[in-house]
Amino acid sequence: MNKLSVKQATELALEVGRIILQSGGTTNRVEKMMLKVCKGLGYPNTESFVTPTGIFISVNDAEGSISTSIKRIENRRIDLGKITRVSRLVSCLEEKQNCPEGKAVMDVNSFRKELNAIDREEAWPGWLRNLCGGATSGFFCLLFGGAWMEFAIAVLIGIIVSYGMKLLSRLAFNNFLLNAIAAALIVCIAKSMDYYIPYIRLDNIIIGGIMLLVPGLSITNAIRDTMSGDLVSGTARGVEALFITVGIVAGSGTMLKLFSLWGY
């Protein structure tokens, strides 16, 4: 295996970090993974500093020349499958063994190829994921004491909101606005369904829809980051969770108030 130059190793590590951070990994994991990649490529002296919105990495080689690179991270989305697959790939590189997901023994070229494949791959088709969003919302509605009619409406709302969020995220809205609009959409559909279908309890339906939006990932990451000592990103993610929550409340509250003003 011919050794990569410092620049190429930095780029490769940065790519690994970008994928994990963009799909919602903890800061500690991103730093550890980039360190492992550089070690596997033959550069053990690596320092990195990761925040939720950017990666800083500098790789030293034996002669003392340093390669530093900065990457700004935008449009983050939850994709736990990608985190898992990249982590496995990196641990394969570290142990220089057969990868259960890939075919050949890891060298640099096949590593890069696998990484690109993971980055481009969609684990499930879009319609199935939207359907599962609907199922999640529906079963949460049942969990909180809904009846079957409410289940059906919650499933419908979940599917519509999943599609809507996909479309809205294409417009590059920020997190606050995205969640506010999605929550407003949930309340709007539920209220207009209430007009046509008698004897349904709106609370369960709306809560089932809101459970799709609650920032579970941000809370988990904030705590795990803080506990592993990354105070900057811990605080940042905590604030992110708070803002998502405020967005949900603002969106659904505004819509409820509008409907009550209109007379429903």
Partner: protein, 150 residues
Amino acid sequence: MRPFDTLTLMQFCWAFLAILGFSIRVNLKGIKIFYTALSGGLCWAFYLIVLYYSNSVLFSVFISIILVCIYAELVAPKLRTPVSVFVTCAIIPLVPGRGLFESMQYYIAGNNVQASKSILETLLIAGTISIAIAVVSSVTNIWLKMLNRF
């Protein structure tokens, strides 16, 4: 016995299916989906059982999150998966979406006393979840360090 009847089993199933949907939504694949869904279901079942015996919401949230995080720490290395993937999926049923919505409703209705009570409860539940996750993850860190040392 109340906490081990069919109603609890049904609730377990709903939580299981909900997290099943959630884990497909976040692009997980393979046998992991089953285990994450199981963690979500177990989380809710533990919560109901402890709630029956202790009558305290915060205590039952604390205990159930701790148990589920231990489950995640045990299962995740076997599946070569990051622990945070499991924890993220497992806590979703207990995240206080209902408290959030109720406090907002009270607030809009102008009932400030009820609203602040509900907000406080929501914040306390969220804080309890955080503390439970923090306890398990730091204890695991110490445990792994001790294993490496000796």
